[in-house]
Symmetry: C2
Subunit: 144 residues, 2 copies
DNA sequence: TAATAATGTCTCGATTTCAAAATTAGTATA
DNA sequence: TATACTAATTTTGAAATCGAGACATTATTA
């Protein structure tokens, strides 16, 4: 654990934070221009791709506290992008289901969202992307 | 811009987000255990390493809106980790300066903070860290 | 020089998030 | 079966952040 090693680690932390912030700002600006915040978008995307979900599962998947789920789901329900549906088997559970309007929204927005990300990531070659994925995966796993 | 390329880009976005979140949660838990939030810590570290700063410069460096700077500097001033000082040359300007108590705090905490980060980053070899730094730098720059 | 523009900080209201407590429903135990 | 435990959701209050506007000061320019 030399001094240089620590400095490298710190530098890596900084460039990782900057890269993340930079990309996120870009992506979030696009999402905001379409009337949602990043969390709302994440929830809607989840429902679109994985089907109806119990509220609690949503919290688990996008890492949100239970109180926040209620809030975000309320917002999306007001916008008519999803509906709450009671679970018949277990009356404690509420499912969130994407509506037609929600589907249309995602289908309209998602391709551009992907393009935005691709546009940024394409400063790297395919090989560099593959390398970055491998390294970042290790970092993401290093704590669990 | 093939289909595979976009998928790689999306995957990279996801692993980048996860890595960042994972590391950040780790680091923030440590900082919180010492009574600060990440932003307060960032401001204090900036003042420690770069000396007294006009409030506005702080906002520029850690990317915070002007209203938020006022708020964070208030918090740190209440904790007696910094003081506001009027600028004599330009009476619009206020400097934030770290106090002795603030210095002691950073000197006590910072080495452990570095260790925390190093501990996580050391799942990578030195060479891998260097590679990651190079790639992430490109991503961070790709938008400005 | 006087008017106008720009700059730095603060205030205020709105948004988003969390954590803890409350509520309601289901499960297990004595 | 009553009683306590667990689970899912909502409510509530606090914290953190932003953006727009207010205010004082400084800079520019006509």
């Amino acid at each position: 654990m030399s001094k240089e090693s620590i400095e490298q680690s710190l530098k890596l932390f900084i460039v990782l934070s900057r890269a993340h912030r930079s990309i996120n700002d870009h992506v979030n600006t696009f999402i905001a221009a379409n009337g949602l915040n990043p969390t709302e978008f994440a929830v809607l995307e989840l429902l679109y791709h994985k089907g109806p979900q119990p509220l609690q599962q949503i919290g688990g998947k996008i890492l949100l506290a239970s109180g926040s789920i209620t809030y975000v789901v309320d917002k999306l329900e007001q916008k008519e992008y999803l509906v709450r549906e009671a679970c018949k088997k277990d009356r404690r559970v509420t499912f969130a289901t994407i509506t037609e309007k929600g589907k249309e929204f995602i289908e309209r927005i998602f391709p551009k969202h992907e393009e935005q990300i691709d546009q940024v990531m394409n400063v790297l070659t395919e090989e560099e992307k593959a390398t970055a994925i491998t390294l970042l995966k290790k970092l993401g796993l290093s704590l669990n």
